[in-house]
């Protein structure tokens, strides 16, 4: 079973991100479960969502305590919430930022972790460019699909099509595609330099 935890703030589509990722996994014939952290949803408040993916029925209902992957939609949370709590040693980290892990003062955290599983991406900028709103969730899950190879881009696109229609769907698909390709290129580069 693969367990993903997404951290963000109310209004950034944190819950929708986990839901769409579960829909994308379902489209590939997998079992998936997505649920929110059950907080009272308020704009700007810390929000957590979870997604589990497995090849058999998922019965577990506890929050994801030891994730295989963490997506952080808002780096201001780094000083407020223990976002990396329980992350597995070989776990994935995807951060929404235009800065590097070093620039964010996270060198110690990433030290010794497999570099091909760590990535940052300016997802808010990608969202602004294609969707016109600073909601980074779709580029982040598409980027995570690229980083983890867990889900194909076309499944993310399918999930977008179930959630959005018309222009909004088109914008999100463009954002997802750009994020996916960008991260694929970054990983290739990182492996080459390693």
């Amino acid at each position: 079973m693969f367990e993903l935890r997404i951290h963000g703030r109310g209004g950034q589509g944190v819950v929708t991100a986990a839901e769409m990722f579960s829909v994308a996994a379902f489209a590939e014939g997998r079992n998936a479960q997505a649920f929110p952290s059950f907080g009272s949803e308020r704009t700007g408040a810390p929000v957590v969502s979870f997604c589990r993916i497995a090849d058999s029925e998922i019965r577990l209902r506890e929050p994801v305590m030891e994730p295989d992957a963490i997506i952080i939609q808002d780096t201001t949370l780094l000083h407020q919430v223990d976002v990396f709590a329980g992350l597995k040693k070989d776990g994935y980290i995807l951060l929404n930022t235009s800065r590097s892990f070093d620039e964010l003062g996270l060198s110690d955290l990433v030290d010794g972790r497999p570099i091909e599983r760590l990535c940052t991406i300016a997802a808010t900028e990608i969202a602004l460019k294609h969707i016109g709103r600073p909601i980074p969730n779709v580029p982040l899950i598409a980027g995570f699909a690229a980083l983890s190879d867990l889900i194909r881009l076309e499944s993310v696109v399918k999930a977008i099509g179930e959630k959005f229609h018309g222009k909004v769907a088109e914008g999100n698909i463009a954002a997802a595609t750009e994020a996916y390709n960008l991260i694929k290129a970054r990983i290739a580069e990182a492996i080459q330099h390693a």
Binding site: R5, V15, A18, E19, S22, V23, F26, A27, N31, A32, Q33, A34, F35, P36, S37, F38, G39, S40, A45, P46, V48, I58, R59, L60, R61, E62, P63, V64, M65, Q80, V81, D82, A85, G86
Partner: protein, 417 residues
């Protein structure tokens, strides 16, 4: 058809397939998504003929459901927590009048302190209201139980609450097999009421009944729930014939063969318990599970049969009867009268406190060694409790307990669980 959708959406679609004629509701978390989805279906005429009535309160919601049901309409509503408490007088009237309303309770704690998260305090507070109460373990079961609930309610002329864990199920996206309209139509016949308010054949419903007949009317309510004990397993079997899956019934056992320790629970926590039990079985522990689907009527005989060979029983419940301990545990003890089997009550998950495998492993191992107290509060933070008790001893004007504790704990929402 298999779908990956939110639990609330799945329930809304299943309720729509049952062809309700009147839906009335007042929004309250975590039930809101269900009635929102139904409202959209009525507006778009995807669900027709059906009248969706926005009401000013939960008391009005149940009152409208009573009125609608009394005219012979198939009536549905949904609520949770304070909303259920606010409609209580009408809740008792619905069952007392024998009106087969189906209501989803998206289980949520009761205040004060105000809390929107999941536990079973709300529907369990209505255990004696005369409504039947069926608890869903998964979103698939929640969906299926609604289809069975209409049939059960209408056959017996008694209302049914379908209870599903708020947020944990209502807000979870997971795979469900959505039945077809044809399947639901073949399982659930049109509603044939025993009593109808009809100007062409006038009757009155709701007479005042004095000491000469009140006991008899009340006894009949009990007798009907006893009939339900027979009918619920039959309905589950009929359901399986049409839909091809096991759903509903009175109780379910899991890995109970040769179990020395039996864990009893209701609702979605059964999933986490089963995963824990699988891991313990792999390590050679003789532990099994009894899940209770029908809380009212309470299946005394089935519970007794499932537990009588155990060496100990752990009832894990998301509710607290203040001043005694367990609510479900008390009913389980009743089922085990004259059996010399130690029983442990574990109050867990109140107000949305996460129930984790880690805590369950520790708890069940302590139970196996008979090292548990008769009443345990799972993962209770004793430091927090003792600090407040000390404060109350130290000064008279110690202030509101909840606010003190929040100040002691510090930042809200900074932890994962």
């Amino acid at each position: 058809m298999l779908k990956q959708i939110e639990g609330s959406r799945a329930v809304a679609e299943a309720v729509a397939l049952c062809r309700p004629e009147v839906i009335c509701a007042y929004p309250i978390s975590p039930q809101t998504h269900i009635v929102e989805a139904l409202g959209e279906m009525v507006k778009s005429e995807k669900l027709a003929p059906c009248e969706f009535i926005n009401v000013e309160s939960e008391f009005a919601a149940m009152s409208v459901a009573i009125g609608a049901s009394a005219t012979g309409a198939r009536a549905y509503t949904a609520t949770a927590s304070q909303g259920l408490l606010f409609m209580v007088e009408a809740v008792y009237n619905a069952s007392g009048l024998g009106l087969p309303i189906v209501m989803t309770v998206a289980n949520r704690a009761i205040g004060a302190p105000i809390n929107i998260w999941n536990d079973h305090s709300d529907s369990l507070s209505q255990r004696d209201s005369g409504w039947m109460q069926l608890f869903a373990e998964t979103n698939q079961e929640a969906l299926d139980l609604h289809i069975q609930a209409f049939k059960l309610a209408e056959e017996l002329s008694l209302p049914v609450m379908v209870c599903m864990d708020g947020f944990i199920l209502t807000h979870a996206y997971e795979q469900v097999d959505m039945p077809t309209q044809q399947q639901v139509d073949s399982f659930l016949p049109p509603y044939e009421p025993r009593q109808v308010l009809d100007p062409r054949e006038p009757v009155s419903i709701g007479a005042m009944v004095g000491p000469e007949a009140f006991m008899e009317v009340r006894y009949l309510a009990h007798a009907k729930q006893m009939q339900a004990l027979e009918r619920i397993p039959q309905l589950a079997a009929e359901f399986k014939q049409v839909f091809g899956r096991d759903s509903g019934g009175l109780t379910h056992t899991y890995r109970a063969e040769d179990a020395e320790t039996m864990v009893v629970a209701m609702g979605s926590v059964l999933g986490t318990i089963k995963d824990t039990v699988d891991e313990m079985r792999d390590d050679g522990h003789r532990i099994g599970v009894l899940g209770i689907t029908s809380f009212r009527p309470f299946p005394l005989a089935q519970v007794r049969a499932a537990l009588q060979n155990a060496r100990r029983v752990v009832v894990l419940e998301k509710s607290l009867a203040v001043g005694i301990g367990g609510i479900l545990a008390t009913d389980v003890r009743m089922a085990m009268s004259h059996l010399h089997v130690p029983g442990y009550t574990v109050v867990a998950g109140l107000g949305g406190r996460a129930i984790t495998r880690k805590s369950l492993h520790r708890l069940f191992r302590e139970a196996e060694q008979d090292a548990l107290q008769p009443l345990t509060f799972l993962d209770l933070d004793w430091d927090v409790v003792n600090k407040q008790l000390a404060r109350e001893r130290a000064v008279r004007r110690s202030g509101p307990a909840a606010e003190n504790i929040l100040r002691d704990i510090g930042t809200v929402a900074s932890k994962i669980a």
